[in-house]
């Protein structure tokens, strides 16, 4: 199904995601103890089958993904997808004691699921708070593998429209790209847009 979103609605969505990213950055900073900057995200609506070409890196690349399912007035799941290359850099920044390559590999999954959790929580928390929507969440899950595997872990309608956001983590000299995708069940996005519509800019 085709979903129309006006530039104004998209602006509100961008603003919400922006605030969420800002919160995520401040939490990550407290965990890392050094300055981490999350760049202003780029946000757009895409169809499920367009995700492939939006995700940074190519199809055969190994990716790490953190998944958070939610239910409520609008249901779906939020995914944070990193190329494992960038993920390793990110983990290295957090696990300063072990900068040995081998150790890094071993601690990656746990560290990434926590970093992803911080980012996703900040985004989803902001979204539900600002829109005054109560959502129920499943415990987050972490998967590594090729894009196909990550996307098919959840069965989504190929025609569903999703919010795609990309942000860059900048920690001192290292720059890591993380893709953030919000998947909505068909119908949920329309609900979300309706809620956004009833929402004035002065509320932000």
């Amino acid at each position: 199904m085709d979903i129309k979103i006006t530039e104004e609605q998209l602006d509100i969505l961008r603003e919400i995601i922006n605030i969420g990213v800002g919160k995520a950055a401040s939490t990550l900073n407290s965990l890392l103890g050094s300055h981490i900057k999350l760049m202003i995200p780029y946000v757009k609506l895409i169809k499920f089958n367009e995700i492939q070409k939006e995700i940074e890196g190519n199809e055969s690349d190994n990716l790490a993904s953190l998944n958070l399912k939610f239910k409520g007035n609008f249901s779906g799941s939020a995914k944070l997808i990193f190329p494992t290359d960038g993920a390793s850099k990110l983990v290295r920044a957090f696990a300063e004691e072990d900068d040995d390559e081998e150790d890094l590999d071993e601690i990656r999954s746990g560290t990434l699921s926590e970093i992803g959790n911080i980012v996703l929580n900040a985004l989803m928390g902001t979204l539900s708070n600002l829109l005054r929507q109560h959502l129920v969440y499943s415990p987050p899950s972490y998967i590594e593998g090729e894009l196909d595997k990550l996307l098919h872990a959840d069965k989504f309608d190929l025609d569903s429209v999703n919010i795609f956001a990309r942000t860059r983590f900048v920690i001192q000299d290292i720059e890591i790209v993380g893709d953030f995708v919000l998947f909505f069940e068909v119908g949920s996005l329309t609900t979300l847009i309706t809620i956004i519509d009833s929402y004035g800019e002065e509320d932000l």
Binding site: T27, S30, L31, L68, F70, F94, A95, E102, D105, E106, I107, S109, G110, T111, S113, E114, N117, I118, L120, N121, M124, G125, S128, N129, H134, L135, Y137, S138, P139, P140
Partner: protein, 394 residues
């Protein structure tokens, strides 16, 4: 009553293999299950009603508080990974080797609109160990594959070396059997005839026979010389004594030695080599190379042709060229010229025979001196052989 209700609500969670603790928004512990009792050695009687932050003061820090706080308003689950935290309910009696993965979720509280935070603590020690073991095994397997590939490449290299050695040996035998045999046979038959029937010949005939024998002897001599040098080079006994010398003198010397052969075919031998053309090389090797290239050129140049030797400085090298107006070489044959493993000889314009050894020797010698040798040619238009030599010692 409220507290009792909530305690009984969580009782089932005593029977799961996961450590579970429930707190209210004031961090008061409402439930502390059996798994947590075992891991922390804090009983539920000791824990219940206590403030979680008093029991575990490290949780007061911002990095924990900020992430727990959001749950009291029903926010999304929070994860404390085993890798970054190891064990968030660490006590003096905790097993140091155990690591735990903690997920905190919001559960609706007894009071409407309020939430408790439920900590689920999983013991991931065994799982982590297994993952690490698998990763270790994978790395080992990858190392082994890498090692095997290296060994295969080494084997391949050795095989190529052996093939080349074998080709060298074959070449040697073929030269001995074909090219030495002919002049020796001529020499033998003439000398036998002379020794048996010397008196039957006129002085003029004798002179012709002697000329013929002399020609064979010369051919044998030059062939033997090449063979000898080549075998020395092959067995590593060749002395390499580089020095600085004027190339012009060596070219003049070669021209003098080969002038007679050229005159017979009316071929002009011209040296365009400039004065004071210094190179740093082994003079004997350069002499052999020049003689081989010039005599080849004479062989493949028809009567009244021209052979020019010139030079030019290019960077740290002097490039020497021997150009003839001869038959030229096809592209296919050019590729065979410097190869030991392909037998290649061509009959000259006056039916001169070659061994195919000369150019292989030239390549060996030039490379020994740090230079390069190559050829440019077009069928019917002539051929130029080039080689380079360093102008001074490095």
């Amino acid at each position: 009553v409220e507290l009792l209700e909530s305690i009984s609500r969580f009782d089932l969670l005593d029977h799961v293999p996961v450590g579970i603790c429930v707190i209210d928004k004031n961090y008061k512990i409402l439930f502390w299950n059996i798994s947590l009792e075992n891991w922390t050695e804090i009983s539920s009687e000791e824990a219940n009603d206590k403030n979680l932050l008093e029991l575990f003061p490290h949780l007061k820090s911002f990095k924990y508080r900020s992430r727990i706080e959001s749950l009291f308003s029903g926010g999304p689950p929070t994860v404390f990974s085993s890798q970054l935290h190891k064990n968030i309910f660490k006590t003096v009696s905790s097993d140091e080797n155990k690591i735990f993965h903690t997920t905190i979720t919001a559960v609706p509280a007894a009071e409407p609109g309020e939430y408790y935070a439920m900590f689920s603590v999983e013991d991931v020690t065994a799982l982590t160990k297994r993952i690490n073991d698998y990763r270790h095994m994978r790395d080992q397997a990858l190392d082994e594959i890498e090692q095997r590939k290296k060994t295969e490449a080494e084997l391949h290299e050795k095989q190529e070396e052996l093939q080349e050695l074998n080709a060298t040996k074959d070449k040697f035998f073929s030269i001995i059997s074909h090219d030495l045999k002919n002049p020796i046979a001529v020499f033998l038959s003439i000398s036998e005839m002379l020794s048996k029937m010397f008196e039957d010949f006129s002085p003029e005939e004798l002179k012709d026979f002697l000329d013929e024998m002399n020609k064979s002897a010369k051919k044998l001599n030059s062939l033997l010389e090449n063979l000898l040098q080549w075998s020395r080079a092959q067995t590593g006994r060749l002395q390499y004594n580089p020095d600085t010398f004027d190339l012009r003198d060596v070219v003049q010397n070669s021209i003098m030695l080969l002038k007679m052969n050229a005159d017979k075919k009316n071929i002009g031998l011209i040296s365009d080599v400039q004065e004071q053309s210094y190179v740093y090389a082994d003079i004997n090797m350069v002499d052999t190379v020049l003689r081989n290239l010039i005599s080849n050129a004479i062989k493949f140049t028809p009567e009244k042709g021209k052979i020019t030797i010139s030079d030019e400085v290019k960077g740290e090298f002097r490039e020497v060229s021997v150009t003839d107006t001869g038959l030229g070489i096809s592209e296919e044959d050019i590729n065979k010229l410097f190869r030991i493993d392909v037998h290649h000889t061509t009959i000259g314009t006056s039916k001169e025979k070659g061994t195919g050894l000369g150019l292989i020797l030239c390549k060996e010698f030039i490379e020994k001196n740090g230079g390069e040798i190559w050829v440019e040619s077009r069928l019917g238009e002539g051929t130029t052989f080039y080689f380079t030599l360093p102008t001074e010692a490095k």
